[in-house]
Amino acid sequence: MKSLIRLFAATAAVVAVVALAPPIASAHSLKDVQQDLFDTEKYFESRNEPAPEFALQDADGNPVDLEGLQGKVVVLHFIYAGCPDVCPLHADRIGEIQEMVNETPMKDRMQFITITTDPERDTPEVLEGYGPVHGLDPSTNWVFLTSGPDKPEDTTRKLAEKFGHKFIVTEDGFQTHSVVTHIIDQNGQWVANFHGLGFEPTNLVLFINGLTNANVPHHEEPASLWDRLRSLF
């Protein structure tokens, strides 16, 4: 009987070691990144809806629309060049992220887009001069878009509203608006927002990486018994 107890105790010990050992596979799928961001990045918001359509143009008048960006991960934000406070900081942050991403093979798989909410004052000259000052590289995968002369002046502000922004335009031409970085996946799906400027830049880079690798099948963990039972209903 004693040997039986010893055997049982030994089995229990082995079982405990197995149970406490770290899991075999580390986090490496988009789902894992999303979960990590849910847990650790309070400025991350997951979304899942088609991104609002847009058809705008760059400083040279070249058309840029959402459909043409299929196959690329898009990082999109709204600012205006005359904005005195938070816009330059937001542009700096996007510039920092562009630099990080462009150090990896993700460089060719994504597009950074800044859209002006003040097309009247942000002339092509203004658009052209803005990027380099804020570390945004127009020669690779960043572009500053405006609505163009043929469209109503409030086109881009209307678009920003579809992305959840609210505008208050003051008498002296300043616009009060929120600071949000929007992420659109390769299929035109609006998949996330990073709010404000308090988020950790590497978290956004990891999320982009998760998206660029999203089509890669991973070694998925089996669904738990509970999940499988629940899925029956």
Partner: protein, 216 residues
């Protein structure tokens, strides 16, 4: 309560079997058995998930067929996997890649990258990964990798980061990749910065004083 019962097969004389000491010993033994049983059951319940994973990896049941079916169906076509190690501009680590390996499709490979922190301060890093050519990424399966997870290297510390992987034999059926003989797995490590390091230390119970001790 069992002290008056006859125990078949017992070599003890009747008197000892009925003695209070013997009765106490049996009670203790029963208690020990029950305790071991409870411990074992609790342990088993905790072990159910990893054991299930292990079972699935071995048998291929439960959605892990990528690993289980790939190995026995090794193809004659061989492929070279190259490894690329990069650090971002803000990252002070030295990060080096393992040598390329050539393996059959479906064959599992295991390599290790090496990271070293040559500075006198702790650095928290995180890595992104990419597979080139991008289309081959669909067939490149990583069983274990260090990407996305925060990695702390103390001053002067060197650490190995293992990656285990295989290339899905289904790549043979993809005409676009018929000429592909080499796949590159590329990692880039980023410095997560001071704020993230502080958070990591707090959540892992590493005290600033300990870090300073190591820095000396």
């Amino acid at each position: 309560m069992h002290s008056n019962q006859h125990l078949p097969g017992s070599a003890l004389p009747e008197g000892r079997r009925n003695s209070p000491e013997f009765s106490l010993r049996r009670k203790r033994r029963t208690a020990a058995m029950l305790a071991a049983l409870v411990l074992g059951m609790v342990g088993l319940s905790f072990a159910a998930v990893p054991l299930y994973r292990l079972f699935c990896q071995v048998t291929g049941y439960g959605g892990t067929t990528q690993v289980a079916t790939a190995a026995p169906e090794q193809s004659e076509r061989r492929i070279t996997v190259r490894f690329d190690a990069n650090v971002a501009a803000n990252m002070a680590w030295a990060f080096s890649a393992p040598k390329p390996v050539e393996l059959a499709l479906g064959e599992t490979g295991l390599v290790a990258y090496t990271g070293r922190n040559p500075t006198n301060r702790p650095i928290l890093g995180t890595a992104t990964y990419n597979v080139t050519p991008a289309q081959a990424g669909v067939y490149f399966n990583k069983i274990q990798c260090f990407c996305f997870t925060e990695q702390l290297l103390m001053p002067g510390e060197e650490k190995e980061f293992p990656v285990s992987f295989f290339v899905d034999p289904a790549i043979e059926d993809d005409p676009d990749l018929a000429s592909v003989t080499t796949i590159t797995l590329s990692y880039t490590f980023f410095d997560k910065g001071a704020e993230a390091l502080e958070k990591y230390m707090a959540s892992h119970g590493i005290k600033a004083a300990e870090l300073k001790d190591q820095e000396r």
